[in-house]
Amino acid sequence: MAIITISRGCFSHGKEIAQKVAARLNYECISNRILLEASRYFNVPEKQLLKSLHDPPSIFERLTHGKETFIAYIRAALLEHIKNDNVVYHGYAGHLLLADVPCVLKVRVLARMEERIRMVRHIKGVSAQEATGLIQEEDRQRSQWTKAIYKEDISYSPLYDVVVQIGALTIEDACDIICHAAQSTAYRTSEADRRHIGDLAIAGHVKALLQSYNPAEVTSDGGNVHIVLPPRKIKKADFLTPRAAAHLKERVHGDLIQEVVDLVRKVPDVKQVVCDIEMPRYS
């Protein structure tokens, strides 16, 4: 009864290991299907979601936090999925997307360079030099992405519970290690954990819905959702008396709270919504 994320370097047999582990434990094995679900639910092209997980953000995206929006959608879809437990996720950035989720076994699968080159040459039919270039470029992109979005170094071992390297260890050895770890009591999800994950799923869903409002914090406790939003800005464009200014602030504030509450109430399992928003500010 566990949730396993398998983070893999490209061409490191990660997918194969994930599928074998899932088969052995009789767990659900998921990867990019999450993108399709997020794409359908939040009505964004799947291609854009995939790009947001793969390519490092451009300067414009860093300024507008465009990538964070898509990542919030993907996290919401992933949390929704792991609510039911017994899942092996081997899509992009599972260990980071689920960093705050309890009882998640975070596995990193690596392979020796010669093994990776061999695999690329076998799949793509390219020279050894081209294969090395391809692997290095892919590794660089993944490393940049992690740094830009999560400010973490992808090779930083404390991010993972288990790191296995294929080479000396065979794929079957790796599966044995992961299955053994997954069955230990540390990764067994209790009822309280399941409730907590349920709350994280609600909060993730709400946060994804509120991306255009730039939410600072969303928490859920048994379906009672607490949202902290930054104050809305009003563009000062003409003179107005302090009374009118205060009236406008109150009005915009009330409108924003109502808008957010109406939106969040539609999320399944939400019981109550409490919204903390400072009064709007003139910019």
Binding site: S212, R232, K233, I234, K235, K236, A237, D238, F239, L240, T241, P242, R243, A244, A245, H247, L248, R251, V252, D255, Q258, E259, P280, R281, Y282, S283
Partner: protein
């Protein structure tokens, strides 16, 4: 390029960065400029603070006070009702009339004031006639913004123009109050026409969210109340009796909140229990609809379909409800409302009493009040304000905000008179704008339209310091020759356009800058620059300044603009709606503005 020019450009860049990233509020940027420029020697100390005594600042203070005076007397409230009535049942006609009126009002007042004034009325009428409110509110908001372009004092950017029009050390001929009026009217007409023709295609057909107000929200919360109804006592009836004798509250759990005596032709908005109800009279009652209908049926009275005699007196701007709590040291503790003659003493109607876990609608005047009891009161806002302002210890503390304020309708004619005096001085006697407007504002204060404290409280200090702080930046920009230098560079890039083409470039540039930085900031940066460009290209620098001032109001794309923010949720708009309807409006604004300048001022 001189060292002063380099320094000016650094300061300009700094100001733009502050405007774009909004690390500090726009008025603080103004104050930073006011201090920074003399410190680094770009302007003298006298020039640095000259903005505070400028015509722009004095005019804006006076305009705000005049607007506050008109507001205080409810002059504009009288405009709203007939305009809405004139609109009849046609969506387009209501939209056009409301938009035109709001645009006209905002030519002399803060644009948000006019929009806020019509907002509840438009929501009400839309609901009643089944017109989508979204088809009226955005046109109304856009016209409120455009209304600011009708007169020089309608919006902050144009007020600034006369103070910024210095070229090569010489002051250019200032603009009059109505120089821009034909252009502003063309813009207003084109906006109305645009929405009449294209409204159905560019605006969503949403119903938006009702602005219920505190009174309606309270009535929803108190399940024993549905609405205020007006009842008519037929002339054929014999004398009904006093309120006490009729026991309306006790029998039907209904409160009489107003009484119209048809014989004396007077209205009581806090009727006493000893007041008689006579044939031909009208009463306003609040309670459950079924109880009110039962009361009418049993007494043989008629329920009117809507408020009629009391429509004005009980309108949201004049009267409403407030929830109050008996305070720990209240004089009411241990007494009943009947004992202390509550209505006479406080001048408001008790409608409900929350005591412990029980809610009383009948017999509440005979219940002994205790600390923490909650009283739902109804009455004229003026009375509520008096109660709220009483010295400590107050008998009642207010749990809900008061919607209305103390109005002085009796001073309405005086307010209009002083506005007329100010305008007459400007139009016929060519008195300076600031002096004429300030004399109008002073007249209002002296004749009691509003007190001097109210006048001070109405001033928008944010705009005052924004204008006053940025004027020295404009001075430095021109004085150091930086404006001329940059203008030369820009012209070298774009070649030698015709004067009209140059104005088009200026219009587009200003519209863009206004979206990114404050409109006043855009005006200060662009007026000196564009005037220099106009002179170099053989055009009229005053026209260039005017295009900048007008285009700074071309802000229809942003839902964060103060007027757009006001109508966004009531109209049920999304950001995309502003992009769609506002995008076309932005282009139309530029086209009409340039077309009008070309036709009226002969710029080719």
């Amino acid at each position: 390029m001189t060292p002063e020019m380099v320094l000016t450009m650094i300061v300009l860049l700094f100001a733009v960065v502050l405007f774009v990233f909004e690390w500090v509020r726009v008025d603080v940027v103004g104050i930073i400029m006011m201090v920074l420029l003399p410190l680094i020697g770009l302007v003298s100390a006298r020039e640095a603070f000259s903005g505070l005594s400028s015509n722009a600042v004095c005019s804006i203070i006076a305009v705000i006070i005049i607007g506050a005076g008109l507001d205080k007397t409810g002059v504009m409230n009288h405009v709203a009702r007939p305009i809405i009535r004139l609109g009849g049942r046609s969506e387009r006609r209501v939209m056009a009339l409301v938009a035109a009126t709001v645009g006209t009002i905002s030519s002399m007042m803060q644009n948000i004031g006019a929009a806020a004034l019509f907002l509840p009325a438009v929501q009400r009428i839309s609901k009643r006639m089944g017109i989508p409110v979204s088809r009226i509110l955005m046109p109304m908001g856009f016209c409120a913004i455009i209304g600011g372009t009708i007169t020089l004092v309608g919006a902050s950017p144009t007020i600034l123009l006369n103070d910024l029009m210095n070229l090569g050390g010489k002051k250019l001929e200032p603009f009059g109050l109505f120089t821009q009026t034909p252009i502003g009217l063309c813009l207003l007409a084109s906006a109305i026409l645009y929405f009449v023709i294209m409204g159905k295609f560019v605006l969503p057909a949403g119903s938006g969210d009702d602005d219920k107000g505190v009174t309606a929200s309270l009535m929803e919360l108190y399940h024993g109340l549905d609405n205020i109804f007006e009842l008519h006592i037929p002339v054929s009836q014999t004398e009904a009796g006093t309120l006490q004798e009729l026991q309306i509250r006790e029998k039907y759990l209904v409160t009489v909140v107003a009484l119209h005596n048809s014989a004396k032709k007077d209205k009581h908005f806090v009727p006493r229990s000893t007041d008689k109800i006579m044939p031909g009279d009208n009463i306003a009652v609040v309670g459950r609809e079924k109880n009110i209908r039962k009361l009418a049926e049993e007494m043989g009275w008629l329920v009117k379909p809507a408020l009629d005699e009391f429509a004005e007196g009980l309108s949201r701007t004049n009267a409403g409800m407030a929830e109050t709590i008996v305070t720990p040291r209240s004089e009411l503790i241990g007494k009943t409302m009947a004992e202390i003659k509550f209505k006479t003493l406080y001048g408001v109607n008790p409608v409900g009493l929350f005591k412990g876990n029980r809610l009383y609608y009948g017999g509440l005047t005979r219940i002994r009040l205790q600390m923490g009891d909650t009283l739902l009161l109804q009455g004229p806002w003026e009375r509520f304000h008096i109660l709220k302002e009483r010295p400590q210890p107050r008998a009642l503390s207010f749990a809900t905000p008061l919607e209305g304020e103390i109005m002085r309708p009796q001073k309405a004619k005086l307010a209009v008179f002083w506005l007329a005096v100010a305008l007459t001085q400007i139009i016929f006697f060519k008195v300076s704008l600031a002096v004429a407007l300030m004399s109008g504002a002073l007249g209002m204060i002296i004749t009691g339209v509003l007190s001097i404290d109210e006048a001070y409280r109405s001033v928008d200090w944010m705009t005052v310091f924004l204008l006053a702080g940025l004027i020295p930046l404009g001075i430095a920009f021109e004085k150091t020759g930086t404006a001329g230098f940059i203008a030369h560079g820009v012209l070298a890039l774009i070649g030698e356009p015709s004067p009209l083409m140059l104005l088009a470039v200026i219009g587009v540039m200003t519209s863009f800058f206004t979206l990114v930085i404050s409109n006043v900031g855009a005006t200060v940066l662009l007026v000196p620059l564009c005037m220099n460009m106009a002179v170099m290209a053989g055009g009229d620098p005053r026209m260039a300044a005017l295009v900048v001032g007008l285009s700074a109001s071309n802000t229809f794309l942003l839902p964060t603009h103060q007027v757009n923010a006001l109508v966004m949720r009531p109209g049920g708009y999304r950001t995309m709606d502003y992009a769609k309807a506002g995008g076309i409006m932005t282009i139309l604004f530029l086209a009409v503005e340039l077309g009008a300048i070309s036709l009226l001022f002969g710029v080719r």
